[in-house]
Symmetry: C2
Subunit: 208 residues, 2 copies
DNA sequence: TGTACATCAGTGAACGCGCGTTCACTGATGTAC
DNA sequence: TGTACATCAGTGAACGCGCGTTCACTGATGTAC
């Protein structure tokens, strides 16, 4: 039953895709290798032809998932101002909150990632760093002076908001958490045609 | 080997304490009932004299842990301005980030709580609501106009920041995430003796 | 207050189950001649 | 280009293990008289 190289590569990719979805929707620990293989249309025995361990699968699935997130952020950033802003608002929408299959691994697996092995945390860290850069670059172009810090704060606040929105049993409070975050974080640096960034003004008043 | 009522109650409390610590440091799923009982100095068989299931233990441990968090926030709020501000900064310190035993359950178990049963999510939601009220009340006293929304945003941002700081492999980036959050979220409404709250001024400039 | 007895907290063996991982096997693929 | 053979993706049974839960048992506690 040996498969061609192309088929083998495709199978590996399929396992990774299915695993990323499962880890994000069910959690890393509760998701079994056999379950992932079955979802990929295979039996569990063949798993170790593709991965050395479940740990390795976790790390690669996390890396892929972060990669997809980075790509979509990059695409949104290249699409211009409206596109990027829309992307941010979508991230803080009830629809994104409920999208447990496709969403952000940092939200879906946050507390599990904090306990994951080196390779997995490395993948998560690297992805986060890239998200920071994408957002910071755009803010720099728009005249912000503390673009990187703005990006770090905005991103971790977004992740916190969606995480909390997912935990809340009360639908109203859950939606309100997202709404508040949307409002506060849309608070961008001013577009380049204006003289000063908002954040500059803010900081000046704040330290006064 | 029957124990007195007082001893029984004490044992139950001990199991809950040990469980809350274990769930927060190791995660909910990876922590076994037998492991918790052993840490409480008991054998696993007696567990079901105190709890109907692991699920019930999770819910109660989460409720207790949230309760402790709420209490410490309340104490800090009653201690006045400096005390409360210090409490916020401690939450965003590297020491708190590394305190996996005693810390905030929303940070330590965030993504697992989002998948927990009704009772557990209820406990987490209720605790979060109480934290919001404590922070909002204090902000209202200090003249903020959108005190509740301020509190919701501040709290979910704090949780996001500590969660991300825990995931990051790079110590410098991890510390920086906390530092940025500390700086941005210390950005409080002005004390009552001044005429206008900062947030009012900010909002006015922002919408200009 | 003292005695007889029901209660029940805690023990430790056992339950079925699913986990991650291994392995002998199959048979199509890809390679060496 | 055709043939012989090594490779190896995928199967399915089996491994030891730890999980949550149950249960018969023990013996101190607390209660009824």
């Amino acid at each position: 039953m040996k498969k061609s190289k192309a088929e083998t590569a495709q199978t590996r990719r399929r396992i990774l895709e299915v695993a990323a979805q499962a880890f994000k929707s069910k959690g890393i620990h509760p998701t079994g290798v056999a379950e992932i293989m079955a979802a990929a249309g295979l039996t569990h025995g063949g798993f170790y032809r593709h991965f050395a361990s479940k740990e390795q699968l976790i790390a690669e699935a996390c890396a892929d998932s972060m990669g997809a997130l980075v790509e979509s952020a990059e695409a949104a950033a290249e699409g211009g101002e409206a596109s990027f802003r829309k992307h941010l608002e979508e991230f803080l929408s009830p629809e994104y909150r409920d999208d447990c299959l496709g969403g952000c691994p940092l939200v879906a697996m946050g507390s599990e990632l904090a306990r994951a092995d080196r390779a997995t945390r490395q993948a998560a860290s690297q992805g986060f760093r890239e998200l920071i850069e994408i957002m910071a670059k755009r803010r720099r172009q728009r005249g912000a002076t503390s673009a990187r810090d703005d990006a770090i704060f905005t991103l971790s606040s977004m992740i916190g908001a969606v995480t909390m929105a997912r935990i809340m049993g009360d639908v109203r409070l859950s939606a309100h958490i997202l709404e508040v975050a949307r409002k506060r974080l849309a608070d961008d640096p001013r577009p380049p045609e204006k003289k000063r960034s908002r954040s500059k003004i803010k900081r000046r008043l704040t330290s006064a």
